[in-house]
Subunit: 360 residues, 4 copies
């Protein structure tokens, strides 16, 4: 290097700090709070870039025939970083909320028809994580990319065909060796233990004198659904039905593997895999919470008005918070857990194979 | 005092730290994580007590024929404190989330049929703020107090008849003197400015070539509803209709006063009233967010299972997060705001009356 | 506008998202975590720009012969926004901390000699708030601008001559009209009440049988200092001495005004001024906490090593967290507060002048 | 169970919510904010109880001749929970800060001489983690337990003789098998790599034309200290000197093990141990930050006054934040890290032994 590296040069501050031009200023009278609006959204975009960078690296790790165990620590740490960034995204809503509806109105018209729904990077994040086109809500009958520039649309849609993090994690789960080690009797015992547990839950409802008959009926109906899902847990054909109906997304084997990891997470070889599953749920939850907080803020900011960009506004945001869960199957694992006391003992061979070599 | 005050005595630690007995221990084998479950819920109850203490004081301030302006600063500070406490309540969910579903299962059965829905203090908070019996969701056909002990039920239901913070704030808003000072032409101009603004929004939708016809239809229908509400803003009879249909809760005059405060909040006499309105929304939002985070956690913890206490579980919590907004009318004020540039000038007499005496 | 405004164009994402180039990539092998390092620092710089934008506006409000009471609400809201942004800055440390020392080492050499101490914008923030050249620690014998580019140095040093927010607030405090309204007997009573209070504190120490004689001596010496400060409170000459010795920064009259506002903050005309003083302390505390968290992180990241840029590293950061308080005098007001019960009653004329005109 | 478990009974709310009695009420006029003071401190005590519960469990895990690898996941999760609780403790300071100095003064006298320094549970936490009597600052010449009741003093001091978490972790580190597997040439290469790295750092300082000669001298002196520590890294006698002088606390072998884990943390068998070391630092940092925030708040609340209980107040708190780091040695590991590129390759036998058995 001929020249000393300078902080401002390294961070390209000349570009970065010259990228805020207020539409209200262009229109002739600067509205003070428009700067905040720009800076918050730019900060979001910077962090989206970082999130994409991290997800790409995690995908690289999982996009191998066999995931090197020496890479699991990194994968977990990178996902934990994403979770920390999400906390920041949520905190940023609190900063934006210091802008009042009246202040927003003063420059809102200048922004039309630009809209936060045009953040291509956020759609990239969703697609890379594994949100499918069919999971998305239509924006008033139109595709989620309908308001994008041609370039952005191409970039975002190109990802729809690529394997997502969901896909790669699913394949990794399917490869879990421990499912095959067990002998038949273990799986039979396991199946029975889960069933007993669910039946016990049902008995609680039936015996509860405090429930109205209406309540009881509703909850027993819920159990029928749960029992269907339970049967699907051990029956590939039933699982396929669940998938077809949209109730399950993970493959049969991947779902079983995730349940196995969750139940026997203390085994040395399952400690990092379990953390990974937890973090995937944390990330789902992080984006869901962010969307929800964002919807609350929008509701307050614009009331019943339509959003800039003519979008349906706060209501849309609230609904989409519900719909955008990618790893929902992992949440549902809890339905099939059993207390430690009821877990059938693992076959010794499996236990052994999950320990470290240095431990004689 | 005969004796020196001692930290532990002052805080009654002997009682406080002796109030954790694990049901799992009673049943013969201690489950480590039950302690966390107890302590988190006890911390919630301590903070609920504090929140009630603060709300009572704010109610005391507003429960006067005329609210002393010298008390407004206190009211605002106390509500801000409630908001800080709510952040803590939300943060506590993150601590509880360090307990995994498997850990919870290990002692969950011992808790039956106790349930978080039996927190009498939380219902007291809701009732004191102004949640009405009719706003509540039924717990499987039964009243929200159906699972309470007799004592708790009496305590909670007794509050249903008392004026809530909502009621007291409504009366205070109705007494706002500035609404009467204005001459007729100001109110006419104001009415027109709001209308023009809404019409402009409608024109934007109609002219937008990017909207599908379906989108356009939906959004124009939304406008009809908004225009109805607009008319109600200046027509007591129409407002009464809105109230009857459940679309508005605040009285006509209180709603007008809140809009006036929001629009002219810079006037010295409106600065504190505006902060107060903002904080009431913050508190609504705080409890909504807390319920939502709690629902997310429950979903993860119990999956499709029913809650301890046989409650409908995560789904119930999620729905109730939506329903429990008390000051929703304040959110809807945004619909009728107009940019500062379009605000009709206030009559000089009103402006003058809102200044301090020391300012000649 | 010929063309529709597009989200990406409005936010200048082309520039913003093209401003991350890794030195490690230039050197031939990309170190994954360098991206995080860049993005965190860019996010800091974006927020610094925003903070400067807000401080400039608050300065504009206070830079008037008389501050319009109708602007006080805005000033308070803008400072509260700065406090929210500071929470974000602190939270960002947690994100940076997901980078481990080992990861940092992998690209640390490439950054030499660039350093976070070269953030010109942060020095601008400090100067605008009112940090004086003489308050700053030397960076190894050299000025705080010694490592800046010529341009940055000029920008930062130019501000040293301009009135800071500290200066403007001081002048505003000095103009407080209420100090002059009171008659002599009020000030006498006030002076006496403060003195009695301090004497009572001293008596507590002297009578405390639990203190060792060493403890007692230390604390009584502390009281001598406090009593000196107390005398300065009512004696301009003694106050001038305090200023000369660096123990006070605010002028005599400004300090008295701040104490008056703090004690009688419930009066309508003092509610917003009191919030303002509180927020100035919050902002001091926010930057102090941020520097401290940053120092903790640096300690963990580099141990005893020197910082990039050859700076003295973690130790320097920790010390400077202590030294950079601008509104320290406001913290010290607490020393001279008296319980409400002991406050002398305000002369009725003053009380009256601090009320709103609308209140008869 | 004869009777249904009830929420309020389970949580012993009758005790818990009856444990707040205000001294100001006893003295005849209730001061509103005293309730907050009590509740915040009670919440602290509840959480301290929980932290002790968790630390005891982690100690139980480490208090074995060999720590079962199947327990490492639990240990890590429990420590992470402690970190989440610490965030809550820090957040609680923000709630307490909503009480202003004037409000505090109104009931402060009633509390004398009770003091937060009398929290026995917090001292228990410190002792269990491993803070030694000699690490503590004297409270004005007296022991940290001098203000305790007899019972509390006995409880706290009893722990001084027991093995702390520090002690148990130290022993566990000393047992690390991997240090012995390596042949001589690996350790030689390792030693050389660290040395080269440090020399390179020194060269940077010497060659830096921007440093003043004073700066250069200071930094080079720092290097002498660092080189001494480096030598101690491989020389038990020198390490013993470091320990004697208070610069190191961990034993020679434990310090080496911690460095090894930090450098080769990607190896499967080191992933959880590395997380554990990180969390021990997080916990240190959490308490340090809490003490610091607490000191900042006290400064603001009482100014130069003495604390309730006649303690030296804010200054004491600030100093003790610095002094109370328990796992400071882990922070200092960073001094001896080397970039991955410079790490000598691990002997194949060690690498192999750190993998899982199932991997061929």
């Amino acid at each position: 290097m001929d020249q000393d590296l300078y902080y401002g040069t390294y961070l390209q501050l000349e570009k970065l700090l010259d990228a805020q031009s207020l539409e209200s200023t262009r229109a002739g009278h600067t509205v003070h709070d428009e700067m905040l609006f720009i800076v918050v959204h730019q900060a979001y975009e910077l962090w989206f870039k970082q999130v994409i960078w991290e997800i790409d690296e995690v995908k690289r790790i999982f996009d191998q025939r066999v995931v090197d165990e020496a890479d699991m620590g990194s994968a977990v740490s990178l996902l934990r970083r994403v979770v920390e960034i999400q906390k920041l995204l949520i905190q940023q809503v609190s900063v934006l909320e210091t802008m009042t509806p009246l202040d927003f109105l003063d420059f809102r018209d200048y922004l039309f028809p630009a809209s936060g729904f045009q953040s291509a990077q956020f759609r990239v994040v969703e697609n890379k994580l594994g949100l499918r086109a069919e999971d998305r809500m239509l924006l008033g009958g139109a595709s989620y990319t309908s308001r994008f520039s041609d370039q952005d649309r191409r970039d975002v849609e190109a990802l729809e065909g690529e394997p997502s993090l969901f896909d790669l994690v699913e394949r990794w789960l399917e490869r879990t060796p421990f499912l095959d080690h067990g002998d038949f009797s273990f799986w039979e015992a396991f199946q029975l233990a889960v069933k007993n547990r669910l039946e016990a839950d049902r008995a609680v409802v039936e015996a509860n004198p405090k429930l109205t008959s209406e309540e009881k009926a509703t909850q027993l109906k819920e159990f029928e659904i749960t029992m269907d899902q339970y049967e699907a847990l051990f029956d590939p054909a039933k699982h396929a039905e669940q998938q077809a109906s949209g109730r399950r997304r993970l493959s049969h084997r991947a779902f079983q593997a995730a349940l196995f990891i969750t139940l026997y997470r203390d085994q040395p070889a399952l400690q990092e895999p379990y953390r990974l599953l937890e973090l995937l749920m944390d990330i789902d939850e992080g984006f869901t919470s962010w969307r929800y907080r964002h919807a609350q803020m929008a509701l307050r900011m614009i009331g019943r008005r339509i959003g800039t960009g003519g979008s349906a506004g706060a209501k849309y945001l609230e609904k989409s918070a519900e719909r955008s869960r990618i790893f929902g199957d992992l949440y549902n694992l809890s339905t099939f857990l059993i207390p430690r006391a009821d877990r059938p003992p693992l076959p010794p061979g499996i236990v052994e194979s999950m320990r470290f070599k240095y431990e004689e």
